[in-house]
Symmetry: C2
Subunit: 328 residues, 2 copies
DNA sequence: GTCACCCCTGGGAGCGCTCTCATAACAAGC
DNA sequence: GCTTGTTATGAGAGCGCTCCCAGGGGTGAC
């Protein structure tokens, strides 16, 4: 009888102590087949007394099922991982993952070559949740792996999507701006290639058109720095602007900083609103008017969908509501 | 000759195409033994043409070496993962990890039972980097695994530590407050059980003592919410306070909000300073005076140390410098 | 008693890889 | 020539687990 070289108990040790075969022990531990009550009890107490924990590598080698969840963040550079929205999502996914006993790994997927197959044909990964999903990333999902992928953002053919209703949220913010008398509303958007930037911009265009107001769009990249620069551009190009809507809160903070430096009163001269309702939104001066973004609920749903393998609707939108504070 | 059931090329396929044995192919691919130039070339081109990628599960099953890095965040609840400092660390670790071709997983380690053995005896994990390290967490590192663990925060017996010199940074901030005439300086600290809260508090005590100033300490938990509440306490207890030093920037933002709501001028009536120099620090009103915290460099060093297995000093402190803005 | 049915159990193959070891091939030293 | 050494190679074992399959033993119907 061989002893384990590293002191780790193996399945064989459990089986020996419990007085059953490896097969029976395996069945009890993974719950994958019949076992008598007596066998179950003895295996369970053997596991306890030996401190046995199955070797995940061996397990997924043979069962072809993974034990970790990869969070694939699509972006132009690994710097996307610095985004506060991604941060919230990562934290939420890590919490949700532990509930399912899977480890959560983080991976950057280059925007121009989102090599998803590379991740999915690794047997150690059970599922992938995409963030900042693009059409290219969805195309990169091999059809055989559709059931193991969920998307936070857009979805398509077999990849269920979970997202905030940012069109509705943007509309709520813009309607609030309109209702409080703003008529020359500028918007600082995100990069045009990102699908999550589209709905808010559409909402903006629609509302401006139907209200007969001028369209004042300046691109940014979700960062406070471009929020600052873009707001500078807005002021130079359309000095009579009376409201700036940032695609997210960071952008709005940048707008706040530029306006303050330029001597404008907020909200007296120019109103500012953001989107996401991050923790700092209520701490800025003035406190930021924004719309909610239930990132945690969205991520938890996506993780649950992809790990439980139950049917989920192809597309789920979570409502976003206006949070009225002082900046607008 | 058997064909691969899932279309994936295996080592055997590479060997067959290259006209060598599995052993030789393995040696070339993992670079773990001698091989003739001819054999090397043929194996490499076979890998190319088949799109072969080694199965990590099988690899670590036999070689007993892992392929992922776990970031262990010590805290009372999974909510620690929400901390912006942790976020920066996670992003940095994910970037550093990809450079070494290891996946980075995130795990919460309960403060009262940091079961590190559970993570370390999983052969799929190559190394662990601890964050918010406590003495209990260091004690939980089995001595056989010392070389596979690095700590961001405190270190001990064989676990190298990497941290910001937050004592020095705090001193720099406090000296600046003193130099600009502040004499009744309150400090909002972090939870006392967290080692990373200790050095700044010590620095505060030392400076107050040597300058003959009163000690005004109120505990917080690194969040803006407690920063607000603690500052309220400071104002109630010591109404003549003329400076508030927050243990981190979030705390300082909370202080800023409370002071603003209470009608104080910053920095006119009360100066405010933080620590970390996060992205929002320069966006607040007034822009926050703080000290730098090179999280990315620290994390990259820790990851490098633990993956390269080269000798590293038992303890490395990264300097923190004052960033003078408008709040103090 | 015989048959057909369960439910349970253990033997054994094999997942894809690395690694040890024996052998082969060839050069250099005496 | 033989020994010694060095380098390249392949055969084969086996990492720890799951899963297929054959067999054992009980139960109930006839």
């Amino acid at each position: 009888m061989r002893t384990r070289p590293d002191g780790q108990a193996r399945l064989e040790d459990v089986a020996r102590v419990a007085g059953v075969s490896r097969s029976t022990a395996s069945r009890v531990i993974s719950g994958s087949g019949p076992a008598s009550a007596a066998a179950r009890d003895r295996v369970r107490s053997a596991v306890q007394s030996l401190g046995y924990r199955p070797d995940q590598a061996a397990r997924s080698l043979v069962s072809r099922s993974g034990f970790r969840l990869v969070l694939g963040v699509v972006g132009t550079s690994p710097r996307v991982l610095d985004d506060p929205y991604v941060h919230r999502a990562v934290a939420a996914a890590a919490s949700a993952g532990t509930a399912y006993e899977v480890g959560v790994s983080l991976e950057w997927l280059p925007r121009h070559a989102p090599r998803l197959d590379r991740i999915l044909d690794d047997r150690t990964v059970r599922a992938v949740v995409l963030i900042n999903t693009t059409e290219a990333a969805l195309d990169a999902v091999p059809s055989t792996f559709r059931g193991r992928v969920a998307s936070i953002g857009i979805g398509a053919r077999g990849v269920p999507s979970f997202d905030v209703d940012n069109g509705g949220g943007a509309a709520a913010v813009l309607e609030h701006l309109y209702a409080t008398g703003r008529r020359r509303i500028a918007m600082v958007t995100g990069p045009l290639w990102m699908p999550c930037a589209r709905r808010p911009v559409e909402a903006y265009r629609n509302l401006m058109r139907s209200a007969g107001l001028p369209v004042r769009l300046v691109p940014g990249d979700f960062s406070a720095a471009t929020g600052r620069r873009a707001t500078r551009t807005v002021l130079d190009r359309w000095p009579d602007t009376d409201a700036v809507f940032g695609i997210n809160d960071a952008t709005a903070f940048g707008a706040l900083a530029t306006l303050r430096n330029a001597g404008y009163q907020v909200p007296g001269d120019v109103a500012v609103a953001g989107f996401d309702d991050i923790a700092y939104a209520e701490l800025s001066a003035p406190a930021l008017t924004t719309a909610t973004h239930p990132v945690e609920r969205i991520v938890t749903s996506a993780v649950g969908a992809v790990l439980e393998q139950s049917w989920v609707p192809p597309s789920t939108l979570f409502p976003s509501t206006l949070v009225r504070r002082d900046s607008a």
